[in-house]
């Protein structure tokens, strides 16, 4: 894909035009627009970044700085299901590491990797802000609190059985 082929749809562009109005300056719309790109294209490629810079009238470097600073912006494709296990204090004290190890075992990959079928990526993340429900696993940004090896296995099995269809 080149910068010419990574393009927002007309609807998106209209949405962005509206969004920009909500802020004192167009650069403020950068993070929301990056989310849109991630939603539309799966990840934020360099071409997408160039295109976004153009759409918002920014320099490519301004876009690059933001994309690389924030962990939730992905420059590489991830698995269809992103399993993010919090291992910070609250979750650690409630067995998050054991849970993460178990999940890696079930998936047959190491932390940070993607299953060969491209279905799952497992990652260790920082405190999700839900320590009351520790341990917490986010699945594509949906919180699964008080997760257990059994509940995660069930989820993985379910996804696999459905062939990855939500």
């Amino acid at each position: 894909m080149s910068a010419d082929t990574v393009r927002f749809s007309e609807e998106r562009l209209a949405e962005i035009a509206e969004l920009v109005k909500r802020y004192p300056g167009p650069q403020s719309a950068l993070m929301p627009v990056l989310y849109m790109a991630q939603e539309d294209f799966g990840y934020i490629s360099m071409d997408a970044q160039k295109m976004i810079a153009e759409v918002l009238g920014l320099r490519l470097m301004q876009v690059r700085e933001v994309v690389t600073f924030y962990t939730m912006f992905k420059e590489q494709p991830t698995g269809k299901y992103l399993l993010e296990v919090c291992t910070n204090a609250g979750c650690m004290l409630n067995g998050a590491y054991e849970l993460a190890d178990h999940m890696c075992g079930t998936l047959g990959i190491r932390m940070g990797e993607t299953t060969p079928d491209g279905l799952f990526t497992i990652a260790e993340v920082e405190c999700a802000g839900a320590c009351g429900g520790a341990p917490v696993v986010q699945v594509n940004n949906i919180y699964h609190e008080k997760a257990t090896p059994a509940s995660m296995d069930a989820l993985i099995t379910q996804v696999r059985a459905d062939g990855g269809v939500e």
């Binding site: 004192p24 950068l30 301004q62 924030y70 993340v125 405190c127 999700a128 802000g129 940004n141 949906i142």
Partner: protein, 426 residues
């Protein structure tokens, strides 16, 4: 609101309506008193009166620093010719904290109402809620609530015919703890990496787009409707002087019933843990209590009875912080926990200040070695030196938070470290 006008009866403020089903829907929220007092504020109060009530209430910021909110508002210069912005800090990234999330997902209108009132007091046209990226669900709930509020003319032009207009926008962060620091939050909201700005100038004078800006925590803003409805004096009579009102504590770790509990200030740690959280998972006395989020120094069993106030916790050698209490019983591996927290700070350092950028990584690597049984005797001095010279020498307080667990470990549990070091010499 069902809160009693008698301060002695009050045990909850922000969580007053938290358990009502569908409270996030405007109709339900209104049935339960949301926006009831708003017209009075918009029509009969003026800026000075509101700020004065908030000052009288004695409320201190619930986001971590505990700065008196009324005072902060009074610092905002008027008639600068520039707009004033109100930013709600919903970044909730401090490990252990998860209270703002409940307000936002269960009672978003309480926050919105608080923001309208604060916005009115500060003559704000555009307000923003900066919410951490992971809280996608909460952001959606807020957006729906805001849409309903706009439709009901509670937001937008000429709110309820009062002549006051305010826009409110939810803005998602994207995975950076440091964006909870108010100046980093401002940078982030400007579409840049969240690197804190040095002060002065303070945001109140030069913040968002270099205009006067107030940044307040969700819980702080959610308290405003009650303060205005029942009066500053009312709020000041809850809790204890200089530590007024109620506070939500997010309790996690080795307790039987972790969760958020709002209690009047001054309730003791022990009461909270035993009466509300069902006590510890193992044993009867905690080994470590981190009282205000992972960035605050640790307390040990000797401080189990400390009343939960800004002042008492400071006296005990720590801080109330964001009210995130992480409790550990005797089963906790403190070296491992410290290593995990060191990893957190190394991962989250924005990278700009030398001691924080280099120090956090250094601490993590040494802690990892120590945890893995590969430490050496000199490591203790290195850990101490490296953390002591980070704290207080950087633009923001992240480095101080990074130093706290290491210094606490070395101070309270040197033997835990020594045991690991001994393992390595074997």
């Amino acid at each position: 609101m069902t809160i009693s006008s008698d301060p002695k009866q009050v045990t909850q403020i922000c969580f007053d309506r938290i358990n009502i089903p569908n409270q996030n829907k405007l109709s339900v929220a209104r049935e339960n008193g949301a926006y009831e007092f708003l017209p009075t504020v918009l029509n009969d109060f003026d800026s000075a009166k509101i700020i004065n009530e908030v000052k009288t209430s004695g409320i201190r910021g619930r986001g971590g620093a505990g700065f008196p909110t009324g005072l902060k508002w009074s610092f905002v210069p008027r008639n600068t010719g520039k707009p004033t912005y109100l930013l709600c800090n919903a970044d909730e990234g401090e490990p252990g904290t998860f209270k703002d999330r409940d307000i936002m997902r269960f009672d978003p209108h309480l926050l919105i109402e608080g923001m309208i009132m604060a916005g009115f007091a500060l003559d704000v046209r555009d307000a923003y809620i900066y919410i951490r990226g992971e809280f996608l669900h909460e952001a959606n709930v807020l957006n729906e609530a805001i849409a309903e509020a706009y439709a009901a003319n509670l937001l937008g032009e000429n709110i309820l015919g009062s002549g006051y207009s305010m826009n409110l926008t939810v803005h998602r962060g994207a995975g950076a703890y440091v964006c909870g620091e108010e100046t980093a939050l401002i940078e982030s909201l400007e579409g840049k990496p969240g690197r804190p700005r040095f002060k002065p100038p303070f945001p109140a004078v030069e913040g968002f787009y270099r205009c006067p800006t107030v940044v307040n925590n969700v819980e702080t803003l959610a308290t405003v409707p009650a303060i205005l409805k029942f009066g500053g004096e009312w709020h000041a009579s809850i809790g204890i002087p200089n530590n007024t009102g109620c506070k939500i504590f997010s309790v996690s770790g080795h307790v039987n019933k972790p969760g958020n509990y709002e209690v009047p200030m001054g309730t003791s740690l022990k009461t909270l843990i035993e009466d509300y959280c069902g006590g510890l998972q193992h044993g009867s006395v905690p080994k470590v209590i981190i009282p205000g989020g992972s960035s605050t120094p640790w307390l040990t069993a000797e401080h189990y009875d400390t009343p939960l106030t800004y002042d008492d916790l400071m006296k005990a050698g720590s801080f109330l912080g964001s009210g995130a209490i992480i409790v550990m019983d005797e089963t906790a591996d403190l070296v491992a926990l410290t290593r995990r927290l060191a990893h957190f700070y190394a991962h989250e350092s924005c990278g700009q200040c030398t001691p924080c950028r280099e120090g956090t990584g250094w601490l993590e690597r040494v802690m990892k070695r120590v945890e893995g049984g590969k430490g050496c005797a000199g490591d203790v001095t290195v850990l101490k030196d490296a953390s002591e010279h980070m704290a207080g020498r950087t633009i923001c307080a992240l480095a101080e938070g990074a130093a706290a667990p290491v210094l606490s470990l070395l101070k309270h549990f040197p033997e835990d470290v020594q045991t690991r070091l001994a393992e390595s010499s074997k």
